[in-house]
């Protein structure tokens, strides 16, 4: 086939709008305000190790909670009647269609000191508890916004697990735990790795969620980058350096995940 030329417009576009911008990020990160080469920005990023560590930490916790929460749900969904499966799938996808800012805003109103949850607690004679402006609130916001990204890939691998295989394992004397460890878990591994990356990457780089739910103490990498470009400490060179660190973090995770799923993946399940 001589159709390779058909991809020319895209290749041009890809180089101009994907490759060149990333090179520019590296260029800005390695130059100072005067345009000369410097490593100062990159080494300045170490000042923010606390923020970076906290971002990674909160994102890891959120990802684990998503996994623990989504796994049984995806499994029970996959064992429903086909008609019900479709309904359940729609129910999981529906909230994703509402902009995440609106969903996060909804949690803001629920968690406030004078919000609905604290009012209910007040009726029971408890509280008011400090719910918003905590790390817990940020993790909750991440879990709520990104858990569908964990449920969907898990569900899609679990529908492919043959019920017969489970029965066979049981017939051969495996108990529930044994079936889980030896059959279900290994077969759902690709879904787990996809889910982890799809939750972790947006979680670690978020800025709106921490801004809305996190209060003054919970600055994250995303906030830091936003501050350098559009916020109150204008310094695109430092911002680019932080962006590079974030990219390296994410690429590291991706390559770790790829150790498990190395077959060529095309077309993600969204």
């Amino acid at each position: 086939m001589r159709n390779k030329v058909l991809s020319a417009p895209y290749l041009f576009w890809m180089v101009l709008f994907t490759v060149v911008p990333l090179i520019l990020v590296a260029y800005y990160a390695l130059t100072g305000a005067d345009g000369g080469f410097t490593l100062k920005n990159v080494s300045d990023v170490r000042q923010f190790s606390g923020v970076i560590f906290r971002s990674v930490w909160l994102a890891v916790i959120a990802t684990l909670i998503c996994l623990v929460m989504a796994y049984p749900l995806a499994y029970s969904m996959s064992r429903l009647r086909p008609q019900m499966q479709r309904v359940a799938l729609l129910m999981v996808m529906l909230p994703m269609w509402i902009n995440f800012l609106l969903r996060t805003y909804a949690w803001m109103t629920l968690l406030e000191n004078t919000g609905l949850i604290n009012q209910l607690l007040g009726l029971l004679g408890i509280g008011p508890l400090q719910l918003i402006n905590t790390q817990g609130a940020v993790v909750l916001g991440m879990v709520y916004n990104y858990v569908p990204f964990m449920i969907l890939p898990l569900y899609s691998v679990m529908t492919k697990i043959d019920q017969g295989l489970i029965h066979a394992a049981q017939d051969l004397g495996s108990n529930t735990l044994g079936v889980f460890v030896n059959v279900v878990l290994p077969l759902s591994m690709p879904g787990i790795t996809t889910g982890i990356t799809m939750v972790f990457v947006p979680a670690v780089s978020t800025f709106a969620i921490s801004r809305m739910l996190g209060g003054g103490q919970n600055l994250m990498i995303g906030d830091l980058i936003e501050l350098q470009f559009l916020g109150t400490s204008y310094n695109p060179n430092l911002g680019s350096a932080i962006s590079m660190v974030l990219m390296v973090l994410v690429l590291l995770l991706m390559s770790a995940m790829n150790q498990y799923a190395d077959e060529e993946k095309e077309g993600m399940i969204i």
Binding site: P21, L24, L73, P95, S205, A208, M247, E266
Partner: protein
Amino acid sequence: MKHLSRIYTGFCMFFLYLPIFVLIVFSFNESKSRAVFTGFSFKWYQALFQNDVILTALGNTLLIALISTLISTLIGVAAAIGINAMNRWLRGVVLNTTYMPIVNPEIVTGVSLSLLFVFMRQVLGLPIELGFMSLILAHVTFSTPYVILNVLPKLRQMDKNLYHAAMDLGCSPMQAVLRVVLPEIMPGIITGAFMAFTYSIDDFIISYFVSGPAVQTLPIVIYSMTRKKVSPEINALSTIIFLVVVGVLFISNIAQDRWAIETRKRLN
């Protein structure tokens, strides 16, 4: 066990829908309070429909989504056909770069594109300004990969001989692509275009970095609304979006069912 799983599913659904439910209830609240329901009223809906900023932003969002979907579908389908014809090594390189906007944190993509536009204007002297143009360019950039990645598998599945057979029967390569290949990969194109469209409508982070004074999209307006005195208009907006989404999913599901029944009939 079955009960347990039902209860658990119910709990998860409760978690997913509780905030949305609260938003909807309070969109009908008479007062501005977010915690006390003082009375039933439609006034926030009225306010919303008189809010020019939101209505213009909605128009912009839809227009940008339509144009960028069109461009990215055209570029993406052509690219997929081209990539499919590449040798293994080249394909690997192109595909890995294609994955970049998908796996890269959105904020990095946004920042890098904003740097590109600044660079184009300040260093190359191109008259690029943040606004409609930059938003379209950015949206095409992040949605084209979804089109490509949805079309490629369909191309793989397609019988290669179909294309050659078409040529043997007198088609030019272009005709062969248009008349034989395109219909085969149509489902992939539709899914890809649909994903491009939804991502474009929903995108906040990248748009936030490349938007200018004249053109704001709905997510950007929503964000700035949460940064100021919040009006319950935002709840009314969420409710309407929710109802529209429910409606669209409902209709598309009915359509799917109909289609499935029709095909079964035809097969019989």
